[in-house]
């Protein structure tokens, strides 16, 4: 239990955001109306994705310096988990867009950037699947993963700052400025981000442990 305290934090934080996210007051904004509450659930998906993909990048770099196959397992499982939250972010964003911007998909810098990022990471899995030899696969995948994260930074952090977007803070900082979030919303939003990141990490550690058990059983190493 001592080792698992952060899982408790994850559950408590997310449960708090579910309750507070629906019950606390939100500013009445035209177009958004009550959908402003989506912020507590949709945005943490992207924070989680960027965090877990950074973990993936970290272990890919580690693999390239130490050539330990364990780093490769961790990197690939982190990327898998990143795709899960990324897909949830895309789907929830699309639903939200339909009811506020009027279409399931609009040619917005952030939307297209997120979609391209997902495709770049899908190519990472195709690349992995196409190489049989383990060390070779790990090395090439690690190099590609570094490229993929650089592309993620370009598409999700640099390009949205250079173009207009329907997202808050458009044509400048893609994050929120002081007018977009009031202090009540911050009280829910920040725990939501922390809670979802921790929950994503939990799912990721389960995947890694399962993969290691599988390898032990299959190859006895």
């Amino acid at each position: 239990m001592k080792k698992n305290w952060w899982k408790v934090v994850a559950v408590v934080f997310v449960l708090y955001t579910i309750i507070a996210g629906f019950l606390f007051n939100v500013p009445a904004q035209p177009i958004l109306h009550e959908t402003i509450r989506n912020l507590y659930f949709h945005v943490p998906m992207w924070f989680s994705m960027m965090t877990i993909l950074f973990v993936s990048l970290w272990h890919s770099i580690k693999y390239l310096s130490k050539s330990n196959i364990e780093s490769d397992i961790v990197a690939s499982q982190a990327a898998h988990t990143g795709m899960l939250v990324g897909a949830l972010g895309l789907i929830t964003g699309s639903i939200w867009a339909k009811y506020t911007w009027g279409a399931w998909w609009v040619a917005d810098t952030k939307l297209n950037g997120a979609a391209i990022t997902m495709l770049i990471y899908l190519a990472y899995f195709v690349l992995r699947g196409s190489i049989d030899e383990e060390q070779k696969r790990a090395r090439i995948a690690a190099v590609y993963n570094i490229f993929a994260y650089v592309m993620l930074v370009v598409f999700l952090m640099i390009l949205p700052r250079m173009n207009d977007s329907l997202h808050p803070g458009n044509g400048g900082n893609p994050g929120f400025n002081k007018y977009d979030l009031d202090s009540t919303m911050r009280m829910v939003f920040y725990p939501a981000v922390i809670g979802w990141i921790l929950l994503t990490v939990w799912i990721f550690t389960l995947r890694v442990r399962l993969e290691k058990v599988k390898r032990k059983l299959l190859y006895n190493d």
Binding site: L23, Q29, P30, L206
Partner: protein
């Protein structure tokens, strides 16, 4: 006359600044049924967490057995 028009203009521009009331789910909050929604989502989330905890334990058990 000019003063009258000036005052009219000021009053029109002042009323235009009054933002129209944004429609919110006030009824859902007044009737208290929002709590039903919160409860349902909480139950779903707790269900998923219970599932994760069980998976976690299963994997721990497997890890122990492999170590033996």
């Amino acid at each position: 006359m000019a003063l009258f028009f000036a005052m009219l203009l000021v009053s029109i521009s002042a009323s235009a600044q009054d933002t129209p009331a944004v429609e919110m789910a006030t009824g859902l909050y007044q009737s208290g049924k929002i709590y039903v929604v919160v409860t349902v989502i909480s139950v779903i989330f707790i269900g998923i967490v219970t599932y994760l905890v069980m998976l976690d334990r299963k994997i721990s058990k497997l890890e122990k057995e492999i170590k033996k």
